[in-house]
Amino acid sequence: MNKKIIDLWVGVFVLIGLAGLAFLALKVGNLLSTNEERNGYEIEARFDNIGALKPRAPVKAAGVVVGRVESIRLDGKTYEAIARLHIFPQYQFSADTIAAVFTSGLLGEQFVGLEGGGDSVMLKDEDRVKKTQSAVQIEKLISQFLFSKAAESPTPTLTPTPAPASAAIPGIAPAPAIGVKP
């Protein structure tokens, strides 16, 4: 085999390999969007319970992805979960924004939802979101539902009627039993 032909083939091989890597990074992965992810600013939100929220979960406002969960840790004194949220630079939120942990669909992944307020002061880097709302725990919901049922009727039944159950689906409408923490 001619040396020149070997060189040519190896060159082709390396080039299509690198092209494949570019394809994986750009088209399959999210390399293009990382620039805006790297810029931007970080805010902090404290939750009583974050449920199954994980690092790098999306932060959404009105369903639009506006950032990612950077890290999650526990405050050893207050026993609150501290989630650091990385917000893309083009989005600004007012200081009285509410952060809540939602679930997309019944079995989907959890994400942080931001609901903008009316304050004219905007959140800056390293600020803290003052109002948060914890993740809905399905066990609490079920027990609350059962207790309320038991209180309603003298002969308690274990078969829940469909109407209240659908109203309690997390993420679609936050259950009234879970209060907004000031």
Partner: protein, 265 residues
Amino acid sequence: MIAVFDAIGRVGSAVIAGVSRIGYATRFLFAILRHSGPSFMRPRLVIREVYQAGVLSLIIVCMSGLFVGMVLALQGYETLSRYGASESMGVLVAMALVRELGPVVAGLLFASRAGSAMTAEIGLMKTTEQLAAMEVMAVDPIARVVAPRFWGGVISLPLLAVLFSTLGVFGGFLVAVKLIGVDSGAFWSQMQASVDWRYGVMNGVIKSVVFGIAVSLIAVFEGYDADPTAEGVSAATTRTVVTSALAILALDFVLTVFMFRGEIN
């Protein structure tokens, strides 16, 4: 009673032999690294091996990638359509390929296609005294024969794994979008939203680099260590494929534990 002691003794000596073989292989790796100078001073030596190991494995790796991607999409459709989530097929195909199947299956194919050839070639060079002849010519066979093949393999496998994943995603696209009729926009955008290029793509590449080092080392080591007979070389070739497969799967487990620990918690 004596038979029992005999058996224990045999197990013991097998363990000792296995451990000292690992030690020898490690020493061999350091010898390769120490004698890698000529490989980098004379890139043509390595280019030739990239051709032998990489370019000649291209067709089998690309074809396998395409089919694996297509099968993943078909099987994924079975399950995902039941939950009305067939748009997530892109995610399923891409995640599986980029993180696991790309590096692992490409590594296995590479071990059986290129690794075995490396072992057989070096083993045959030993059998026909070519390595001894080199040594007597004051040319170190590790520097001249072993190290270029090692580096050729280390360079080739990551590229092959990337191509395997790429062709696999393309195969998944063909089945999902062209055959089943999933919306093409949803296929790509869901994929992009969930495959992180650092955690997914780069970790896959790191895996394939590690597999490349492991398979190439096993291949050149078995060849260099082969009994200089026809049976010796054929046994060494078999050992290369078997040991490489085990090493890839075991290393894959270890690497996965380290890389994706954050997501399991």
